[in-house]
Symmetry: D2
């Protein structure tokens, strides 16, 4: 099971789609840094380039120059544990009776083991353990008997989980968002064509206009003249948007389901002060993730905003760390304290979330070592008590600090004078989104889809659907 986290699809009326796809992936780089790929179609055949690393490392000018065609899909891959090689990079491409397919997938599927077993029973083989490969087999099988839209519809009924897809059937570019709309996906109008992408920043980088989000359960087919798109609303279920996209994952300058992420975070910070404000000398973010939250918090409280911790901009993914006791050095390589702003002062530290809790403990200790008189910790999301099975690689349950500890126990363990979180309802309020339309699996342990061994918040019967295109 592999995390696949940023997708793009572009259809132009003239020129080559590869370069704008490259820029769009560049803008979405935060969604996946492990690998990247672009597949184009020039009307006759596919061209592809995939590789491990950042977008700027995978593609050079030559590569992009060779990716001909008006149609394109692109993909970014999130770093995960396990053996990774160029084979693991997407978009996933195959040829079938009905032509070529290229699929870029953001999300995680939950019932591919059973689907895969069915295929193996019929003599199919699999090259990887990727859930996306199973989806491709399903789609290609459906295509033997059905047209593209119907084949997608059948696939969506067979496959369960979180998926925002951009797919290319020969040179036809299609966007698909799962019936619950778990992961984001949006449509933009760009010069000479249209784009479908995980976040609106991909539209912005091309100087385009955000048209709207792809709706949960909707299939969007870009016209092959680059002049528009057709929409097919195949499902009409109650959505289950991932709130963690707003809290952490998405870029602050993205607008997702009509909410600017940066504003959502500032609003969460404000609510955090309203519900759990404490008087303090300075309010400091945990850089960089807590910045918008801390700024909202300080503003709501009329408190002094001042950075107590400074991040080393150049800390990369790895550095030499030979000895055991070097762990403190590791923290200091990443973050330094502004001693003269901390000494003898009461500091409120604001972050977006606490997952494993290790960093939080270290930060509190850093501040105390620098002479802070009090350290309060405020968190812009609820305690994370359960894993995400739907596309975000958080941690396993026993790694999650809040899975078996009360807030008071956590406060004690990280060594803060006080610790407060937002509630799921606070999050819903901040987003102005009905709580029932949010996926809150990771903070409640109850998921919007059936997952083996986990409880499901939705009755089977709820799953409704709506046929045909609109």
């Amino acid at each position: 099971m592999q995390e696949k986290c940023g997708v793009v699809g572009i259809q132009l009326s003239e020129g080559d789609a590869a370069l704008p796809t490259y820029y769009a992936l560049y803008a979405l780089q935060h969604r996946g840094q492990e690998g990247a790929g672009i597949v184009t179609h020039d009307g006759f055949q596919q061209h592809s380039k995939k590789g491990l690393g950042l977008v700027s490392e995978v593609f050079d000018e030559d590569d992009v120059g060779h990716l001909h065609g008006l149609a394109s899909v692109g993909h970014l891959r999130y770093p995960t544990a396990g053996e990774i090689n160029e084979n693991s990079c997407h978009p996933y491409t195959v040829t079938s009776k009905r032509g070529s397919l290229a699929l870029a997938h953001n999300g995680t599927l939950v019932n591919t083991d059973e689907v895969r077993a069915d295929f193996e029973e019929r003599g199919h083989t699999f090259s990887t353990d990727s859930d996306t490969e199973v989806m491709v087999h399903e789609l290609a099988s459906n295509l033997v008997e059905h047209g593209l839209l119907e084949a997608i519809d059948k696939t969506m009924r067979r496959i369960r989980g979180a998926y925002s897809l951009t797919l290319m059937h020969d040179d036809r570019v299609v966007g698909v968002r799962d019936p619950l709309g778990i992961r984001p996906l949006c449509i933009g109008k760009i010069e000479d064509g249209y784009i479908i992408a995980s976040e609106s920043v991909a539209v912005d980088v091309l100087g385009g206009e955000l048209v709207r989000d792809v709706r949960p359960g909707e299939v969007v087919m870009l016209d092959d003249d680059g002049e528009g798109f057709e929409s097919y609303q195949l499902f009409d279920e109650r959505p289950a948007h991932c709130f963690f996209e707003y809290v952490y994952f998405a870029r602050p300058d993205s607008t997702i389901d009509e909410r600017l992420v940066y504003d959502a975070r500032r609003e969460m910070g404000r609510l955090l002060y309203e519900n759990h404000g404490v008087d303090t000398d300075i309010v400091s973010p945990v850089p960089d993730s807590g910045r918008a939250f801390a700024s909202g918090y300080a503003e709501a409280g009329g408190l002094e905003y001042s950075e107590a911790l400074m991040k080393n901009r150049y800390v990369g993914r790895t550095f030499i760390m030979p000895t055991q006791e070097a762990r403190e050095t590791a923290v200091r390589l990443k973050l330094n304290t502004m001693d003269s702003n901390i000494e003898g002062k009461s500091v409120t530290l604001v972050d977006d979330s606490i997952v494993r809790g290790t960093t939080s403990s270290q930060l509190v200790k850093l501040l105390r070592d620098s002479g802070a008189s009090e350290v309060h910790f405020r968190v812009g999301s609820p305690p994370i008590v359960a894993p995400c099975y739907l596309g975000i690689d958080m941690a396993s349950r026993d790694e999650l600090m809040a899975s078996d500890k009360s807030v008071e126990e956590i406060r004690d363990e990280i060594g803060a004078d006080s610790l407060e979180y937002l509630t799921p309802d606070d999050i819903a309020d901040s987003l102005d989104m009905p709580r029932s339309e949010m996926c809150t699996g990771c903070v409640t342990g109850s998921y919007p889809v059936e997952i083996e061994g986990e409880s499901c918040e939705r009755a089977e019967t709820e799953r409704g659907e709506k046929a045909g295109a609109d």
Copy 2:
């Protein structure tokens, strides 16, 4: 359609099979320099490492150390035109209902387009345009209903062409040679186990003993205790061994189908003198391919053997060559003349074969420029008049010099004073092999298997078979 040219399979009773596989591939490097791969199985799962480049470039000690297991297959890939990436490297691996498969293939299949279409009809997709992938689909499909041996048998009846295979089903290592025995494959006894490999040099490098060649139409299953093997003679047809393996492709120190290649080449050289000897001051090989031929020729004629051309050992695959007129420089970068041995002398140049003829022309010119009074050219094989569809990447028909020219026309074009070839019968004599048991497609245009658009030398009815194991 991709050229795949060297295969290895090893089963040990103890230790890891990866390192001997690595050495065996090293010994077979001449069969493919574009890519290499090793897949092992440790009883629970496969481990694999594949990559582009030479064996020494693809694997480091760490890689080999991580490839655990008593069972292993390895593969070498020949340079070919077209887009190549790590995906193209073999062994080809998949998982299926019946467990994991890894397949290393030397040869080329000729009817995979129709087989592939059948699979696509049933909803199968293909990731590459490799004929091997089609064979894997066939094998895995057969495995759903049948045991391994029967599945292989069915696959061999469905797939047509040249194939020497080493395959691994879970941790079972199997060698398969096509019914005509077109490409070589042999069995060796090594320390703690058995090896199946393209050439006997792979056995030699491990200090092992060559047991025998795998017979045409035979399936050899290595015992999983490394103590022996079982043989299943599934077909009993008249063989069609590729003579070009002896002339050019195989290593001179390999023994193929009981003939030492070096001796075969010296014998061809001797026959060349006997049938077409000419008095001359010196006999010189075209380095390095003509060396054994020239030595046999000189010895048969009691003539002076002296190298008139010297090869630059360091000429790699590429060098900078910016201008048009630099073509002569390109030749001089590769080969230099020994002027004082050439000036005023009659030289007989001996080579193994003439394919495109470009190099031959340049060599004759080089010798004339160095003052040779006469240049005779002798070739240790018949004129190549047609392409090879069965595993050797020679050239397309219109690139083959002899496809539309008489020997006299070729002599004129390369500028030699005389030019003589061996006949197919001479080759058969040199090898002490019935001409009817040789594949002579490239020198006659008539092939031992049906190939669309080409003539077939065999009646359909000739294909016999023999069931069961011996």
Copy 3:
């Protein structure tokens, strides 16, 4: 003439100095990203590793493990135009009659052409056009006749310009700061030894204590038992500290000459509001450089601080940019606007400085395109009117926007509704530093050292000195 921008010197009583040097360079990475080097001395010989790229790219664990010795110097190199190779990486090392030397240099020298000519007259040759090489020749020449301290003293009297040095004579580590104290240099106590480094963050990362700044004109020799250091105050001139270190170059969490850089920037922001405040809907920094300034500005004015521009964290040094008109894309790849926070609003943008002005123009345009009703621009430093010859690679005079334009002309060109700068006196106030002790060459055109073709603010007679150690 090459920019050389971060230096480290470490002496330990036990263990190897290489790893702490590596961490110190990591913390100073912002001072130079083009190359890095570490040279150690184990009592018998030097060990060195230098290379192009970031610290994390240049050194691996093996490298650091091979750099033995209690004594070490390290260097970071700033990206500059011109041919760069591994030879250009420092520390610069030589052997001489008096043993080995390794020199790491931050700053730029202004009279090396004449010194170099003198050496050439005596038959010396130079391998590079680096001013540091000239300084090494001078130092090594002086060492033939004199002890180390006297040789350094003579060198400081011969060489003119900005230099903070860490040097290693055999295994003796020495820190030197030029008589005017132009570039920063500080001393720290770390576990088992002492460190001399460009900024205090290098001390912090090692969990050490900042002892104090090296004083202008001071030579600090670390004791070879790692237990302390000796100070020799060789000059006693009026200092000329570079204020641009505070405005832009240094890390915000560094303390330089007893001032925390982050606080200095916030103070500059406050002063900017006090002197040039304007009512506005939101105050936004230019990310990331303007953040501390904007936060001070907003706070002083009780205005809403909100980020109007968002930076793409993953924009590296290069990306594909094939066409001319792609310049707008380049800006959008780096920065995106938060449209819903800008539309119809009056925005005050705060940055640290304007050098060429190109970016400023683009940012104002971006905001206007996003619907800002007004755009005010505030700059936390005076207009840059002249080049820096003393260690910061700003631009040549004709590239500097303010070199030939009034503030009103600049405002007009960048398209802002209003534009205000700080004055040099404001800077002096913010830093609580006498203006006469600041180098203001880049904002006044008058420099504290004689530079050919530029005016010097100091009379020759002012140069005083004080002999001996204190």
Copy 4:
């Protein structure tokens, strides 16, 4: 002390000298595979590119395209032990009072320690421990007071050892061969100019004409119009040519001091048979070094020439070899036996030389294991009893098998039935060169130049000289 082994200098009347220099280095690659460099001069400045690896790895088309200028020197570096980096690559370049210098050096100097100490006494520093750097200091010092020719003359009188140089003073290209002519150096006429190079194959690759060898003690200055050269015979001593160039080091197709190396080797083989012939079933070379010797030997004796050992063409410099006992595998990776040609037969193995003897022992064992009834060993040079201090990296004295063993003892140790060498007089005969004009240091222990701790075959008084130009 570093081995520096192939040099080129080119002066053209038009075009750029870099590309022909690149080809010339390509042709000389056998003289050094560790690093390569080219420095050109365009009349205004030098351009250079140096790096580690083969010529084909160091330079790409871009590099060569940027190396402008009619004048050029190039260098190849031989693999040696010790720390190597790009700094170690030559040509060595400096700037001096009299302009720029670039020096490419083949050979080793023997008195640089004392010369270096003198320079250090005068305050000079050294960046490397290279003897070439000392020579450059000497040359640049002499240039302060003298013209180029006189400066070279003074340098040749001060520096002792083996040196064939190509040097470039600004854009003037000069060739220099030491007074004893130890290493080869020749002059060629090429299209639009002249070349000076270590061996004639560098002239051949450019389609040029060998003009003649540079004479011992001669300085050759290429005219800057590419139309000719001036010769200055500065010394007139009895030469001491290195015979090992003929035996092993030079390319067989090179003509050195008017002898074709291939013919010299064949002649040595013939003499070996005449003096030490033994009846045998087959004569086999040790591939590839013994091939010409074996062919001469077999011919002289009318014996059958047949390769008993086959080399793996693809064995690179490294392969994975984890275990101790793998040493036999290492031999088998490199060489394989032709069993059917060996079994029951008497084999005479012919090689060029025995240095450490390890390989020879392994080869004899390989043949015996393959069933050879007798193994005779013949060596085309005398026993190597002492190290080379003059430019060939053989081994230290205690690694040399013959330094403390008689021929009979060596025969016994390598396990041959008989073993015979040539004598120094045989070598002189083969080369038709007076023995007194050969350097035989490595086979007699007496050297033509004074080397500390070794005996010198020449009286001081013998050193004569001849002033002025001819």
